[in-house]
């Protein structure tokens, strides 16, 4: 598997910054789910987003993908402000996400589920025709070993396979930034390795990936950089080993150490 040697600081300075969150806040009623979060994501980089439940990780994804509008702050994409853009427009610009609870279209076949993203995703599809898109969809499905089921309805898939399909659907839109929300939950260790290998291949092609994951060991294997959230704020950022081992992060997961 392609291990992630995090780029040096010098390399990062030269990397193309794709997406920037600038002092993003989101309030749900009286709860401040995200507070002034600032984040940069560069091309061909895997950024791990970690933090305990309720720390604001999925909210941040929703703000980046456009499913939610921030209460304050900006989202920039390739230098352009896109804070008000709806999700389909961001998808066509090159930002896409998977859903924590996989939501494929259950009555469509796997090939149709993926073809939708090929047809409506970022411009530049090999073909705008439905039949050809469904044929190309099989190639995308093959990346995660689902091509044998391409003619079946998504309803027939196990939860683990639905998550793989979810990833294929997102990849089909040809994203430059892929937001992956807890894809490894419920996968066997072998399956998890396969998915991480696939993400590493996408990175090698230049895709930026932001990964929400609770399996920290798996993250260490692929992530170039980690960002830790706690109660809606960034509490640590940097090389994954350093972030995972930092006292603030340990405290956020485990509570304050007993004296």
């Amino acid at each position: 598997m392609a291990g992630g040697p995090g780029g040096s600081a010098a390399q990062r300075e030269h990397a193309v910054i794709l997406c920037e969150a600038i002092r993003l806040s989101r309030r749900f009623g009286g709860i401040l789910a995200l507070e002034e979060v600032t984040l940069q994501i560069e091309a061909a980089t895997i950024v791990a987003l970690i933090g305990p439940n309720g720390s604001g990780k999925t909210t941040l994804f929703n703000l980046l993908a456009g499913a939610l509008r921030p209460s304050a702050g900006l989202v920039r994409w390739r230098g352009r402000e896109i804070t008000a853009w709806p999700p389909h427009r961001r998808c066509r610009a090159g930002i896409n996400r998977t859903f924590q609870v996989a939501q494929p279209f259950l009555d469509l076949t796997l090939a149709e589920n993926v073809a939708l993203g090929l047809l409506y995703g970022k411009p530049g599809a090999p073909s705008g025709r439905r039949r050809e898109a469904e044929a190309s969809a099989r190639e995308v499905l093959a990346e995660l070993g689902l091509e044998g089921k391409s003619g079946e309805a998504a309803r027939s898939l196990s939860l683990g396979d639905r998550k793989r399909l979810e990833l294929c659907m997102a990849v089909a839109t040809r994203p430059d930034l892929l937001l992956v929300d807890e894809i490894l939950a419920g996968q066997s260790p072998a399956s998890a390795r396969e998915i991480l290998g696939y993400l590493a291949r996408l990175r090698a092609k230049g895709t930026a990936i932001c990964l929400i994951e609770h399996r920290l060991q798996a993250l260490l294997a692929v992530a170039d950089r980690a960002v830790a959230l706690h109660a809606g704020r960034v509490i640590a950022e940097g090389r994954p080993e350093a972030v995972i081992g930092s006292p603030a992060v340990l405290e956020s997961y485990l509570g304050e150490p007993a004296a």
Partner: protein
């Protein structure tokens, strides 16, 4: 629709459906040319096609989850539009009818703008209200519409070749074929995939790049076009339009019932539903029970919808082995 597999195992069934389609189409095309007095038969078939057209038009936005309770709005806009164009502007019905259908299509865009963000019952109620608002406008704008009196003397379709009944018949058949053709094309196009995706999960469809509002606008505009065409043709067949009939609740409920009865997931399901229900009512129920035929009609609808949730066509297709039970059309 998936091809192969089960279809190869049952070629006779698939061939039977194909021959039924070809035979039906040939019969439909040749019916007015057959010798003998058949005014009544032509009238019945014209009305069947008209309701088939309305049901097919209802079905398209329904595929995207937009369940209209107000299709009478489109029908009425088409009926009043074409009647007014021929009465006030002396336009030929051949120009008035498509113009009125376009007007109803524009009303579909308006409906999508007003109610396109609503889902489920809220969208349905909004469309119900639209039909009712138009009915009240038609009732009260007496300088234009003659109010409850209605517009009378709407000219028929001018076609000297085959006589009025045959002209109505072919116009209805042509529009039904156009609606089915448009539906078939949309189903095979990317748009058809987007429509199905939106019904199953609008947020997920948006994440795949689908602009749901745009897709809904298209679905309602196409639906309005054909429903408006049905209304316009109705006005020219009966030479009269009034608010109570053009915006009748009946016209909103019937396409829904016919589409579900025939099999809403299938291209020809709504048309088959219209055929069976309209002809069944006219030829069987009304003769069995002239005073209470609507009881029979209602009973038949309830029975079929309870026993055959995928409609008549869905039941036939599954029984013929062309598609496994429980899979999607």
């Amino acid at each position: 629709m998936p091809e192969g597999g089960s279809a190869a195992a049952f070629p006779p069934a698939r061939a039977a459906f194909r021959w039924a389609g070809i035979g039906g189409a040939a019969l439909a095309l040749g019916l007015p040319l057959l010798p003998g007095q058949q005014e009544y038969l032509l009238y019945l078939m014209t009305m069947t096609f008209l309701f088939g057209l309305l049901a097919e038009s209802w079905s398209l936005p329904a595929q995207a989850g937009l369940i209209s309770f107000g299709h009478a709005a489109f029908f009425g806009v088409g009926a009043y539009g074409s009647a007014l164009l021929s009465l006030k502007l002396q336009l030929s019905p051949w120009i008035g009818l498509p113009t009125a259908a376009l007007l109803a299509s524009a009303f579909g865009l308006l409906a999508a703008g007003v109610a396109g963000n609503l889902t489920g019952p809220y969208f349905s109620l909004a469309t119900l209200a639209m039909a009712e608002i138009l009915r009240v406008i038609a009732l009260n704008w007496t300088t234009l519409t003659e109010g409850a009196w209605g517009l009378v003397g709407v000219p028929g379709l001018p076609w000297s070749g085959l006589g009025a009944r045959a002209a109505d018949y072919y116009a209805a058949l042509l529009m039904l074929a156009a609606a089915c053709g448009a539906s078939a094309w949309i189903r095979r196009a990317p748009l058809g995939l987007a429509i199905q995706a939106i019904r199953q999960g609008e947020a997920r469809a948006a994440a795949s790049g689908v602009d749901a509002r745009r897709v809904k606008r298209i679905a309602l505009a196409v639906s309005g076009l054909f429903a408006g065409g049905a209304g316009a043709l109705h006005a020219h067949i009966f030479h009269w339009v009034d608010p109570a009939s053009a915006f009748s609740l009946n016209l909103s409920v019937l396409p829904l019932v016919m589409a579900l009865f025939g099999g809403n997931g299938y291209l020809l399901g709504p048309a088959v539903g219209a055929l069976v229900l309209y002809l069944g009512n006219e030829l069987i129920f009304q003769r069995l029970a002239p005073g209470g035929h609507l009881w029979l009609y209602g009973g038949a609808v309830i029975l079929v919808i309870l026993a055959l949730p995928e409609g008549i066509l869905g039941w036939l297709v599954v029984r013929a082995g062309l598609r496994p039970r429980g899979s999607t059309p």
